[in-house]
Structures are given as structure tokens and as C-alpha cells.
């Protein structure tokens, strides 16, 4: 599962963000394994995605979001 599969309002834990295509800037904003990610808003046509990653509010495009592996929390 990746961040691109999240529905609005859902959150999950990042398991892997090591793809070479993910910009370093995103990692520096807290997009790292173990941190929580929540999908806050979707722009029209469901792209880009407005996320809360570990307390940082950022928007990224779907293509990059699909590279961030996540795991849904139980409950």
C-alpha cells in the first residue's frame, strides 16, 4: 500500500521512503519510516495530495505519493 491509496481523512505509518525518486526535501520534512502520514485534502482530479507528515503540512503529486510505502494502523 502507498500514500496514493489513502482516502481523505485516513492515516497510516510510513514503512519505506527510500526510492531514489523521492526528493530529499520530502525526507527532511519528516517523510521517514515510522512516522505517521495523514491525507488531509485532495485537489480536483485527486492530484496533488495535501498531507500531514509527522506534523509537517505538505502537498505532493500523486506520482511521488505512489512511491511512499505505508501500513495502515490497526483499529
Amino acid at each position: 500500500m502507498t500514500v496514493a491509496d489513502l482516502k481523505k481523512g485516513e492515516s497510516a505509518i510510513i514503512t519505506d521512503s527510500s526510492s531514489d525518486e523521492i526528493p530529499l526535501k520530502l525526507l527532511e520534512m519528516g517523510c521517514l519510516p515510522g512516522n505517521e502520514v495523514e491525507l488531509l485534502q485532495l485537489a480536483p482530479f485527486n492530484d496533488p495530495l495535501y498531507l500531514n507528515i509527522n506534523g509537517s503540512h505538505v502537498a505532493i503529486r500523486k506520482r511521488i505519493a505512489a512511491l511512499i510505502q505505508i501500513e495502515k494502523q490497526d483499529g
Binding site: S18, M29, A43, F45, S56
Partner: protein
């Protein structure tokens, strides 16, 4: 002179760094460029206790020391170069209390450079709302630093910050992270190869090369050392980031408590409306409409006043000063020329006011978010919206504002199409011609004139978008598309920040354009009042001979003489030479001269006409009235009629007439190819469109 220390303000974007800078320096600021770049360098002076002065540099906002743009690179280069005269004695890191965790990443990096580093936690006024409490003494101990908890909004904590800066020698310089922990094997080999160098600095230089490619490896002679592949380096940078976050998390766990139940949902509520699939666009459109209506409506009042005041000043100067060449130069050349630039101030100020409020409030990021998908269809990025909007003020800052577009193709296309947007230099041309050729009257409450102006703005945006689409299809550049934008929290803009931005930008604009306009008015005046040959030198005699039988009043004869002289002056001869080229567009040689001068800068148009028309005239008429009286010598109808007016408007809408923009595009794209493409393509388009429209309408 007292002692002076260098203080560097460093911080993530959106942390209120500029507010802190303004609070420390007040209006004693200087904006210039970093050598060899177009990155703004903001400096100021702050008085510290006991006569010590601090020279404060506001460095560009950056998320980390891993530079990914020209702006960020400036920060890294300064901090790595101990011999730079601006190398800081003390680094002040500005953080936002709501984003402390992320902001501390940069803090730990700066700290590891072993510069005395002070931590400023800004926006303390929001702590209560967000249920945040901090154990400052504990944080100071864990982070080996001094902390100033401030609020630029409520003006608290600034004096404490000054005290800490004054006592900068007491700030510990212990690093936060042992660099070798990132990858013990690799860093051991580095240490052996360069026993005398600081490990973290070495690592920065090596990794910077991978990111940015601008850092000179020679400075540390590490060329001989075999470094890792870019992908391996990135892996290490990721490891470094994780290690830093581990450290930060361990510190904040004990030093910060957040009561999430107190967090207010204002941000979420505003986001729901402002980024809504329908309302989001409606609100954005209404905001744009308001801006344009305001610029047209409100700005015209002070503009008419300035216009009138300069006309009277010119008249008054002629009456009180002894007549002669110097008086004429002043009253007919310099004063009308200056009036032509100062008349802009109201509009420029309004535009920068709106843009800075939109930026400061955090709304601009929402627009980027909303528009990204739409803009991508045209080969642009959501981030292109900001340059396109600020392009309505001036293309120069707009071209610079493209720097945060990560994808080179999207960035290049944005740079190429930005000059189509209606910049404020086009406004006076538009306003005066609209006033002359568009009839008064209203259509559902909006005046025809305001609607025409709006249409011109739409034409500007439209041609930018269409050209972007074409360029996207033509340009074969494949680059990875990165797109990361922070969505800052909403803030009520600080009046002080907005005011300083408006004043600074307007000043820079007036001085920059003012110099060109002044020079051109003087040259024009000289060219218009000198001539060779009998026609110019004996104009009075020749005209009087010609009109001898026509029974004209003395005043009419004087006017005839003046225009005869002008026609045979140097500028008249030059204008006549180019007349065949522009006649099909409906212009006479005077407009031709104004258009040629406009290639230096568009705003010269009105000033040029003002200077040309003022020569030899001494009534108190405003520029507008003089233009109204002009008659086309070929057709006998008013020179500024509907057909020629529309043709002129469209010529200015499309033509690339701004040397400063061309220069900045050359700098930002590092090639003469792109500015030349703009110049040739846009100007050719302008000529063809103006030609078709005039021939069709006349």
C-alpha cells in the same frame, strides 16, 4: 566607530524570519544581490547593549543544508567559507513553535558546523492555542544552546534575543550529531584521507556536489578522493536525516508537551473552503477580480493628481525660471519624464500590497495546490501561478520567483511565458489609451473602460497559457518532476511586514525605472530640440511665409512653428525614417519614437510622448489632453482613434519590450538563446496582431 559582529539569520521558510529581521533592524535595511547571482541579499544593522553593533544578514529561507536551489546554495556557501567577510560570528536559527521538530533539523546541521548558534522560537503567542508548553532550560541544556522565546506579533522577547546575541561568546559550540555515526566505515576512510579537516564540512561539500553541482571541490582538494555514486550519497543523506530526527525526537520528548485537545481546527476549516473543488476556484477568481478592479478604480485618483501636479510644476518652472536652454531641459524634458514614472507609484504599491498579503497569509500555497493539476496540462506547475500573478506587478521578480519550481522544463516554460502577463509597466500605456479610445458607459455596473482593462489582463494570461502549451509540445526536455510545497498555517499578515515590502519594492522599481526614464527623457529632449539644415534652423521664417495669407492668430502660428521644428529635428528625421514600417499599424512617427524607446522599458512610452509633446509648448495641458488633440497627418482623423488605439494596446500586450527582463532571463537560464527567442517571437507576434487588427478595424 564601535565594534561590530556578523549575525546570520537562518531558518525554514514560513517561520517569520523576515519579521524577526524587521524587528531587529527596523527600516535600516539594505537589499542587494549576492555576487554573481540574482538572489536577494538583505542586510541591516542592529544596536546591541554597550555600543556593540550587529551587522545582520537575512539569509534565504532553507529547509536544510542540502541545497536544492540557488537560494539555498547561497546559505551553504557562506557557512562553509570562513574567509567570507560576512561569515557569521553567531548564527541565529529562527523556528516556528508549531513546527519545532522539523525546524530543528536545520538547527542541528548549523550547530554541527561549530558556529555559535542561538535558537529563536518564534510565534510564542500561538502556544496557548495549540496547547504547547516548553521546558526552555532543559531544551537549552540538551541542545547546547541559548534559546529566545519570542513573538514578533506581540513584540515580546526581542530584547532578550539582543542580550543573547551580545553574549554570543557564552553560547556553546558542541555539535549535536557525531557525523561518523552516519556510516562509520565511510567516514573513517574520509578522516584518514583528510586528517586536518572537519568531518561534517567535508561531508557537506561531498554531498552538496551530488545535489547541486556548484560547490567547488577544489577548496578542500577532495577531487582525488573517490566518492560514492549519487544514489549511495542520497542513501547516506537519508541516514543522516533519520539520525538527526532521532536526536530531535529524544530532545523534544522531554522538553515539549503538546495537549492536542486544545488544538483548534481553524486551519482544517479554512482549508475545506479555500481548497474546495468548486468554492476554491470561485474564491480565487473573486480575489483576482477584486485586485484588478481595485487597481483600476482606486489607483486612478492619486494618478490623476500626480499627472496634474507635474503638468503644473512644468508650467510653474517656466514662469519663475529665466528662459533658456537649461529651463527648457528641466521643464520640457526632465519634469515630464519624471512625471511619467512617478505616476506609477499608486498602482505598483497596490499590486505589491495584494501580492504580499496573499503570500503572508498562507493563501498562495493553497492556490498552488488547487492549480497544479490544471497548470500541468499546459506544461506548467502549480508553482507557476505565483510567478504569473506576481508578473502582473513586474516580470523581473516573477522570473526570480520561478526558482522554487523543481522541474527544469516547467521552470523554463514559466520563465518564457511570464513576460506575457500584464506587468505594471504596461498599465500606464493601457490606461491612457483606454481613456482616449474606449467610450465611457457601463455594462452591468462595470465601466467599459474597466472591462477593457480586464480583457487585456485576460489576453495576457491567455497568451501565456497558450504559449506554454505550445512550448510544452515543442521542447524535448526530460527531467524528473519533483513537486513539494509546504502548506503553512494561516496567519493574519503583519502590517509592518506588508508595509516594508510595499515600500521597498516600490522604491526599487521607481529608482530602477527612473534612471532609464530620466536618461531617455534628456536624450530625447536634446534630439528633439536640435536639428540640422534650413528646415529646422529657419523654421520660423518658413512657416510665417507659408501661412502669410491664412489669417491665423499668433498662437496658432506659434504652434505651427513648434511642430515644424519638431518634425525636422534629429528625432523627427529618425522617426520619419521608420514611419513606413509602423504606418500600416496606424501609428505616426511620434508613436514610433515612443515604441522604440519602449524597448528599454515599456513605461517610457507615456513619458516619451509627454516629452515630445511638451517641447515648445507651454500651456498647462495634461499628457492626455495633448494626445487627444493629435491629428493623423495622413488620414486627418484623430491620431488616437479606436482602430489605432486597439492596435497599440495589442502591440503592447504582446511585444517583448523590457531590457531588464531579457537580462534577468539570460541570468536565470544561463543562455542568450531563451531571451532572444522571447524577443523575436513576442515582438513578431505583436506586429502581426497589431497589423491585422488595425487593417480590419480602420
Amino acid at each position: 566607530m564601535g565594534r561590530q559582529i556578523n549575525v546570520a539569520l537562518i531558518g525554514n521558510p514560513n517561520t517569520g524570519k523576515t519579521s524577526v529581521f524587521n524587528a531587529l533592524t527596523g527600516l535600516k535595511q539594505k537589499v542587494s544581490n549576492y555576487p554573481g547571482t540574482t538572489v536577494d541579499k538583505k542586510e541591516g544593522v542592529c544596536k546591541l547593549p554597550r555600543g556593540l553593533k550587529a551587522h545582520i544578514i537575512d539569509l534565504p529561507g532553507t529547509y536544510s543544508l542540502n541545497a536544492s536551489s540557488l537560494d539555498e546554495n547561497v546559505v551553504v556557501e557562506l557557512l562553509l567559507n570562513k574567509t567570507d567577510k560576512n561569515y557569521p560570528d553567531v548564527a541565529v536559527i529562527i523556528t516556528d513553535v508549531e513546527n519545532l521538530k522539523r525546524n530543528l533539523l536545520l538547527f542541528t546541521q548549523i550547530k554541527d558546523l561549530r558556529i555559535p548558534t542561538v535558537l529563536v522560537i518564534n510565534m510564542a503567542d500561538r502556544m496557548k492555542h495549540r496547547g504547547i508548553s516548553l521546558n526552555i532550560p532543559l531544551l537549552e541544556k540538551k541542545l547546547h544552546t541559548k534559546i529566545a522565546l519570542i513573538s514578533t506579533r506581540q513584540k515580546t522577547g526581542i530584547d532578550e534575543l539582543k542580550d543573547i546575541i551580545y553574549n554570543y561568546k557564552e553560547v556553546p559550540t558542541e555539535p549535536c550529531l557525531d557525523t561518523s555515526r552516519i556510516d562509520p566505515d565511510y567516514f573513517d576512510s574520509l578522516r584518514q584521507a583528510f586528517p586536518n579537516q572537519d568531518l561534517y564540512k567535508l561531508w557537506l561539500v561531498i554531498s552538496q556536489d551530488a545535489n547541486f553541482g556548484k560547490m567547488s571541490r577544489k577548496t578542500l582538494e577532495i577531487e582525488k578522493f573517490k566518492t560514492k555514486s549519487i544514489s549511495e550519497l542520497k542513501r547516506l543523506q537519508q541516514k543522516e536525516t533519520i539520525k538527526r530526527y532521532q536526536f530531535i525526537n529524544s530532545v523534544l520528548k522531554v522538553g515539549q508537551t503538546v495537549d492536542t485537545s486544545k488544538a483548534t481546527g481553524l486551519r482544517a476549516r479554512l482549508d475545506r473552503i479555500l481548497t474546495h473543488k468548486v468554492w476554491g476556484y470561485v474564491i480565487f477568481f473573486v480575489i483576482l477580480l477584486t485586485i484588478f478592479q481595485a487597481i483600476y478604480d482606486w489607483a486612478t485618483i492619486p494618478m490623476d493628481f500626480i499627472d496634474g501636479a507635474f503638468a503644473s510644476l512644468s508650467h510653474w518652472l517656466k514662469e519663475v525660471l529665466p528662459s533658456g536652454a537649461a529651463t527648457n531641459l528641466l521643464a520640457e524634458g526632465i519634469v515630464p519624464g519624471l512625471g511619467g514614472i512617478l505616476i506609477f507609484i499608486p498602482q505598483i504599491a497596490f499590486l505589491f500590497l495584494f501580492i504580499s498579503v496573499l503570500e503572508e497569509s498562507g493563501y498562495m500555497s493553497r492556490v498552488v495546490f488547487l492549480m497544479d493539476r490544471v497548470m500541468r496540462r499546459f506544461g506548467l506547475s502549480g508553482k507557476s501561478v505565483v510567478p504569473l500573478i506576481s508578473g502582473t506587478a513586474c516580470a523581473i521578480p516573477a522570473v526570480m520567483a520561478t526558482r522554487n519550481i523543481e522541474n527544469w522544463k516547467e521552470r523554463l516554460i514559466t520563465i518564457l511565458v511570464v513576460p506575457f502577463t500584464t506587468c505594471s509597466a504596461r498599465l500606464p500605456v493601457y490606461l491612457i489609451i483606454i481613456a482616449l479610445v474606449i467610450p465611457e458607459g457601463r455594462f452591468i455596473g462595470l465601466s467599459y473602460q474597466a472591462l477593457s482593462l480586464m480583457l487585456l489582463y485576460l489576453i495576457g494570461f491567455g497568451s501565456a497559457i497558450v504559449s506554454a502549451y505550445i512550448l510544452d509540445k515543442l521542447l524535448k526536455i526530460q527531467r524528473k518532476s519533483y513537486f513539494v510545497i509546504e502548506m503553512p498555517n494561516y496567519k493574519v499578515p503583519l502590517l509592518r511586514n506588508v508595509a516594508i515590502t510595499v515600500v521597498e519594492k516600490t522604491k526599487a522599481f521607481v529608482y530602477g525605472a527612473g534612471k532609464i526614464i530620466l536618461a531617455i527623457s534628456v536624450i530625447l529632449f536634446v534630439l528633439a530640440s536640435t536639428g540640422i539644415g534650413r528646415q529646422f534652423n529657419e523654421a520660423e521664417y518658413l512657416v510665417r511665409m507659408e501661412v502669410a495669407g491664412e489669417n491665423l492668430s499668433e498662437e496658432e502660428i506659434e504652434t505651427r512653428i513648434a511642430s515644424h521644428k519638431l518634425e525636422h529635428s534629429l528625432i523627427g528625421v529618425a522617426g520619419k525614417a521608420i514611419e513606413p514600417v509602423i504606418q500600416p499599424l496606424g501609428y505616426d512617427w511620434k508613436i514610433g519614437i515612443a515604441i522604440i524607446c519602449s524597448f528599454a522599458a515599456r513605461e517610457v512610452f507615456v513619458g516619451t510622448l509627454a516629452t515630445i509633446y511638451s517641447v515648445g509648448q507651454d500651456d498647462e495641458a495634461t499628457i492626455k489632453n495633448r494626445m487627444k488633440k493629435e491629428i493623423n497627418p495622413v488620414s486627418g482623423v484623430p491620431l488616437f482613434n479606436f482602430a489605432s488605439g486597439i492596435s497599440l494596446l495589442l502591440f503592447y500586450a504582446f511585444a517583448m519590450q523590457c531590457m531588464s527582463t531579457l537580462a534577468i532571463v539570460k541570468r536565470e537560464t544561463n543562455s542568450w538563446l531563451w531571451p532572444m527567442v522571447q524577443l523575436v517571437f513576442m515582438t513578431a507576434l505583436a506586429y502581426v496582431v497589431a497589423l491585422i487588427v488595425y487593417q480590419f478595424l480602420k
